[in-house]
Symmetry: C2
Subunit: 345 residues, 2 copies
């Protein structure tokens, strides 16, 4: 099959490799129908050291079950399924506590050196706990929106859930990437009435307004903080959904959060140490939360809104490429020519 | 009157100064019946730069209302009252959201350069929102326990509340000072069944066991972390109440908290930057919360358990001194000869 590998920063290639096979009785092999490129794929795209052995890429996909290990219950060959970016048994104590990303038998996709989601097929460990059947046909127009359940919508939702967004909380979303825009959608869905979107790409923030943002702040740093404070009577918002991952975004979050409020991070932190002392986090009783989204926990909750057409998170996809064009997709997202790229093998 | 001042690290004196007076119509003046020395008073005791002008000390006291500003409703001269260490109107939006320490008209006691709680009398701003009547006589045996409502019990309770302690959460308490021991009591009160107390002073941890600790770990650092993990099937506890404030205590908290869990800090951080990146906080979906306790929010909830004798948080006081002996009290607490010192003016 063909599969996407990264050989170093900026060096993405589509290679021909062996097809994935069942290794464990709990595995499935899924033939990919739709995949995409994640904002987090751009981190290694900027920094991965060069090597002869490529890193398999892609952790968001939906497809058709092709092979099943003998211990996989509840699935059949031919089922159309979506896969969270983490695999999990969905039965252990961590899964029951809602942190499927810390499952005792879990891990992250790609689970396999031979290929990830940006490929023709994928091996999925813990298939019974991981794959969720989609009640639509494989040519449904809903597939792009359903694909967002594998990561990006679930991740935006996780930011909002962890922040405790509800009709009484004001919200700032930092970042106008696909996760930020779907964090806006998730906050709106949970009832937030004021949603300030911080981002400076008009085409993206316009989509953010359609998703529910009530205000857009294009400025960054101190200027951006002052603008958000102006919009909130000087106090900032109860919750801040940090969907970027760079240190200045965290610092911005500290500046726009209201005393007693919550900063919820889903952008993968590209830093280790940061201010959390009296002057930054402690003195105002702020809460810092978030992490890799346990999207498996959210699929059943979010899917109905997509199936009945109420929400269209798939609108974050603004370009569709073939698998062979995947390197172009990385380039387009890196140069911000594309917001999020769909890949059809 | 006599009042306690600190003139630099290790230099505590009891001076004679003018009596406090009403400055604002919302003020009260309270004649102190019982005061005490706080663990947080030891921070300036170690580090306050020397100066000719002393810093007034003491933020925990109960006493009798002596004077009332004309706008103070709900209180009368002669009322026995307890004061939270922060003053607040208890009506603004921040107060209604449970962060009285960020009240729009609030601040911290001592509010006055002429004296704090370790004195014969204190000026209390925002008296109507701050002072809470005590339904006991001024010579009641319950006074030491009721005094803990001004800070130390409310602070331990805040750690437990912010951590979300309940019957299904396991708990580690870091620190066997008075706040740590009362965090144990608070966690037990909220239903926790496993409470691991990390502390190495046997007389204190013995009291912690009486307050509800099920396990005591005397080791620190990596060794202490390994012990707590042993006690919890290798996973750590759902919640960690960090009642120290030094960086190694935070690092210890990261080591003993379970994936998906909460670190709740009430020890005033003596550091600014600390690890919060993927490897420390983010990757395991940990939450960091806490801050200066809005103890005013908790007094009505906690007082009944003291009045009916169910809880005796005043057992943390193991020495009683007169106001003139306050400098000896600092010395005794600093040298760990006393856990917490009561001061009777």
């Amino acid at each position: 099959m063909r599969a996407t590998f990264m050989y170093g920063a900026g060096d993405v290639r589509v290679d021909t490799v062996a097809d994935p096979v069942i290794k464990e009785p709990t595995d499935a092999v899924v033939r990919v129908v739709l995949s995409c490129i994640c904002g987090s794929d751009l981190h290694p795209y900027h920094s991965l050291p060069a090597s002869d052995q490529g890193t398999p890429m892609g952790h968001e996909f939906l497809g058709v079950v092709e092979e099943l290990g003998r211990d996989v219950a509840g699935l059949r060959r031919g089922d159309l399924v979506v896969a969270p970016f983490a695999f999990q048994d969905n039965t252990c104590d961590f899964c029951r506590e809602g942190v499927q990303t810390s499952c005792r038998h879990g891990g992250f996709i790609p689970a396999d050196a031979t290929g990830g989601g940006q490929a023709e097929a994928v091996r999925v460990p813990q298939a019974a706990g991981t794959l969720v059947k989609l009640p639509v046909a494989a040519d449904s127009d809903l597939l792009p929106s359903l694909l967002t359940l594998s990561d990006v919508f679930g991740t935006g939702h996780h930011a909002a859930v962890r922040a405790g967004v509800n009709p009484r909380t004001s919200v700032t979303v930092i970042g106008d990437g696909a996760v930020g825009l779907l964090a806006v959608m998730a906050a709106k869905r949970l009832g937030a009435e004021q949603i300030v979107l911080m981002g400076r790409h008009k085409d993206r923030t316009d989509l953010g307004r359609e998703f529910g943002a009530t205000d857009v702040v294009g400025e960054r740093g101190e200027e951006g903080i002052a603008r958000v404070r102006d919009l909130t009577g000087g106090d900032g918002t109860h919750t801040v959904l940090e969907c970027v991952g760079h240190l200045p975004a965290y610092e911005q979050a500290l500046g726009v959060v209201r005393a007693g409020g919550v900063i919820s991070r889903v952008g993968v932190p590209q830093y280790d140490e940061a201010p959390i002392g009296f002057a930054s986090l402690f003195g105002r009783n702020l809460t810092l939360t978030g992490g890799p989204a346990p999207v498996r926990a959210y699929i059943e909750e979010l899917m109905p809104d997509i199936l009945d057409g109420r929400l269209q998170p798939g609108r974050v996809f603004d370009r569709t490429l073939s698998l062979d064009q995947t390197p172009d997709g990385y380039r387009a997202m890196d140069q911000r020519q594309a917001l999020k790229v769909l890949v059809r093998p």
